[in-house]
Point group: C2
Chain length 205, copies 2
């Protein structure tokens, strides 16, 4: 069925172009200020036609959110070359924070916003597989640290959660503009100094 194939391909292309337009507008103006009509205007289709490719606005931004996890996963690839688990844990933190600071809107979508996560729990999927995968790489690394004698007296799950929370907390306070209360010139540097503070603590455990 050559014709069906072509139609499938064309449908996929339009779907991709909706996503591309949504991505462009989202990075320019944010999720809330990007409307279905904006996206439709950009790809020169009517607003209604978008609903033949996506159930609703949340599904579009959920797809973008997936792309963000793919991008973050790519950046984490280099961790394969770091043998020592404690060094790998630190490198993970650095990459995580760099990703968040270089792509604040994407990070916001992935870890702060309500929109894409609400969409997940409304659907039948019912589990956040992108997040679960990312958290598992952290869990495994910390497990290896424990195996090597680090983090004595700590349980993997709460410890992984706490360490994730520390880096997430630092970047999310920054992205959501709660860092102005901190006495420091450069707002980008305070995040890195906070990370150094965390590293100093990890070294003592």
């Amino acid at each position: 069925m050559g014709i069906a194939d072509r139609k499938e391909r064309e449908k996929e292309e339009l779907r991709a172009s909706i996503l591309e337009a949504a991505r462009k507008l989202f990075l320019e103006k944010g999720v809330e200020k990007t409307s279905i009509r904006n996206i439709a205007d950009l790809i020169e289709y009517s607003p209604g036609s978008i609903y033949h490719y996506f159930r609703d606005k949340n599904e579009i931004f959920h797809a973008l959110h997936q792309g963000g996890f793919h991008a973050l996963g790519e950046k984490m690839q280099v961790l394969g070359s770091v043998q020592n688990p404690m060094e790998r844990l630190k490198a993970m933190g650095s990459i995580y924070i760099r990703f968040a600071m270089e792509n604040p809107d994407m990070y916001d979508l992935m870890f702060i916003k309500e929109a894409p996560i609400d969409h997940i729990y409304d659907q039948e999927h019912c589990d956040w597989k992108e997040g679960a995968g990312a958290f598992d790489t952290l869990r495994q690394t910390i497990l290896q640290c424990i195996d090597q004698g680090y983090f004595k007296g700590h349980d993997v799950e709460p410890l992984s959660y706490m360490i994730w929370s520390t880096v997430h907390g630092m970047v999310s306070l920054n992205i959501r503009k709660r860092c102005e209360v901190i006495d420091f010139e450069d707002k980008d540097q305070i995040v890195n100094l906070g990370l150094q503070s965390l590293f100093k603590i990890l070294d003592k455990l």
Copy 2:
């Protein structure tokens, strides 16, 4: 001028009733789903009249956000009786987390949402005094810890930021539903276990 006083009082009363209605609706449905018309309906005034008491919707929610900081400050009062700075720091963490978990919508408004903080930096005030005050009590406590010999090799500012980030990270991941990836039955308890993990670390510093 008794009449002017009464008018002032009446104006203040209506302003308060707008705030009360906004608070009620906000705690029921959240900020985004609480509209000016909803508030106006509840107090039986027209939508337009609300704009004689508040510049815009953000100003209403900024006022509620201030109320949240007042409530948090009240809960922090008991810290006065804790002499040991390290014990006080831990107690601060416990109270902070309890406040966040018991008042997730208010915490969201205070530390996660864009709305009220954007309003602050749009105005001429230009500084988040509620947040600055709260952070300073943390800073002072950590400073006293350092004076007593704790946290050797750490600077106050980055360390305070990092510790705040840890507790903020834990509750904000929870409030924004990113904790489902963590392997634990009770979602409320994981926050406390994370906090216990943090306490274990603090004990070693």
